[in-house]
């Protein structure tokens, strides 16, 4: 597992109620790449990410992480190397204090308590909520919860970071902090987001999903600057690439 290549091959998934959420998704992500996954609401982004950590299993096709297929039997190995931040932070916080919540993962891997404390404090510090350490998570604001949820995953020191809309509900400063932090994270990152400016800043590669299918897969700058393509997928060019709304000057790209 030294090279964490992620390989998805013709993934198909239909929810039990008959809604087909993935319809033949194929891609390969090399070690150290950072990939943005964008697409309109209901495009299948969350569904795809859930396949990466084995919460859902494809009806057809297969997916593997570092040559290990994602199946029930390999989940412990997979989950040790892939850390996932869920779309809804409430799902990720379930202990009585923020500290315990962040410590939950490292403790499961039986790390010595000193090491656990170090990891918890440094992850809370990175997301900027060290001062909330002793608060119960369900009493935090939406953005604080989001930050705590990200910290829970950082404390696991994953090789691959999978995030479902990490910047939603964050205030500009926390969003900036998150982007800076993610830039420093040199392992593989996969980020599903509607925050296209963040995708532009963080990911050199972008995959556009629409109705459970990959529409394009290529260099972020090329894709996000393609107005026609973006329009077609129900998206909009990131502000950073649009003309200045005041003086009308086109931004140089």
């Amino acid at each position: 597992m030294s090279h964490h290549i992620i390989q998805a091959n013709n993934l198909k998934y239909t929810y039990p109620d008959g809604r087909q959420a993935l319809n033949g998704v194929t891609f390969q992500i090399q070690h150290g790449e950072s990939v943005g996954i964008v697409g309109a609401n209901g495009a299948g982004k969350s569904t795809l990410l859930m396949h990466l950590v084995g919460i859902l299993f494809p009806d057809e096709g297969e997916i593997s992480v570092g040559e290990v297929p994602v199946i029930k039997k390999t989940l412990p190995v997979i989950r040790q190397s892939v850390g996932m931040v869920f779309q809804d932070p409430d799902d990720q916080l379930f202990m009585t204090t923020v500290y315990d919540d962040v410590a939950f993962g490292p403790r499961n891997y039986k790390l010595p308590e000193g090491e656990v404390e170090k990891r918890v404090k440094s992850s809370l510090e990175t997301v900027g909520i060290l001062h909330l350490m002793d608060r119960p998570p369900y009493k935090l604001s939406g953005g604080e919860k989001r930050a705590a949820a990200i910290a829970t995953v950082l404390a696991m020191k994953p090789d691959i970071l999978v995030m479902d809309e990490p910047s939603s509900a964050l205030d500009p400063k926390s969003r900036r902090r998150l982007i800076t932090l993610l830039k420093r994270f040199t392992h593989t990152k996969i980020i599903a987001s509607h925050d296209l400016d963040m995708v532009l800043e963080l990911c050199e590669r972008t995959i556009i999903l629409n109705n459970g299918q990959i529409i394009t897969d290529g260099t972020t700058l090329d894709i996000l600057a393609n107005e026609e393509l973006m329009e077609k997928c129900g998206l909009e060019m990131p502000l950073g690439l649009q003309g200045c709304p005041v003086c009308g000057a086109k931004k140089a790209t």
Partner: protein, 268 residues
Amino acid sequence: MSNMIASLYNIRLLDELAEKRTIIHNIHPLIKVLTTCVYLIVVVSFNKYELSGLLPLVFYPVIIIALADIPIVPLLKRMLVVAPFIIGIGLFNPLFDHSPMVVLPWIQISGGWISFFSILLKGVLTILAALVLIATTGMTRIAAALGMMRVPRVFILQLLLTYRYISVLIEEVGRTVRAYSLRSRGEKGIRFSDWGSLTGQLLIRTLERAQRVYHSMCCRGFAGDYNVGSEKRIQIGDILYFTGWGLYFVVIRYFNIPAAIGSLITGV
């Protein structure tokens, strides 16, 4: 309506209390669980006419509540929820059991009433002891203590997840009720015709949410053990705590102290 939501959200109060730092909170979880077990056994072992013998057992929860700085009102509110059941169990005793019993030399009451009150007292004491244990220890640490007592993992996990599920359920109830009340033009309560769809919704939503929570636990390496971090060693103080209460309970079990004092005073 907002009142109801506020009290629903209070469900986690016990968890929050458990994070306090008092003498009682600092006692080793295993010791507290064991002490509570002994207490429960002693309370239950009294027969139904031994009302006066039970009285000294009231001191245990009272002292712990005082030392652990637990607010009494929320605790009593939680007791009220179970009170109807206890009363229901004992209700018919006074009707059917008229045998006269001597409480103190100058007072006679029918055996039915005595057994009614002793059931009531036993119920209150056992529930109070359990609540106090949770409020001073916390569910996760209780689970760890049960693990040390070699209780099978399946049961412990069941206990923990059920406990989590209750708060998930109640939070969903809170959200649903709030969303409903915002759109129901100030009506009080929930219209009967909407009950069916609301409860159905709730069930599905909580199940899904519980599942997502469980998934996120698994994603972080959860394999059936709740780890609560540094395990404290059992210390001299803990052992003293246990033997102290243990002795007290045993003495109360075998000597009816209130009766002894009563007879001392009346000189019989």
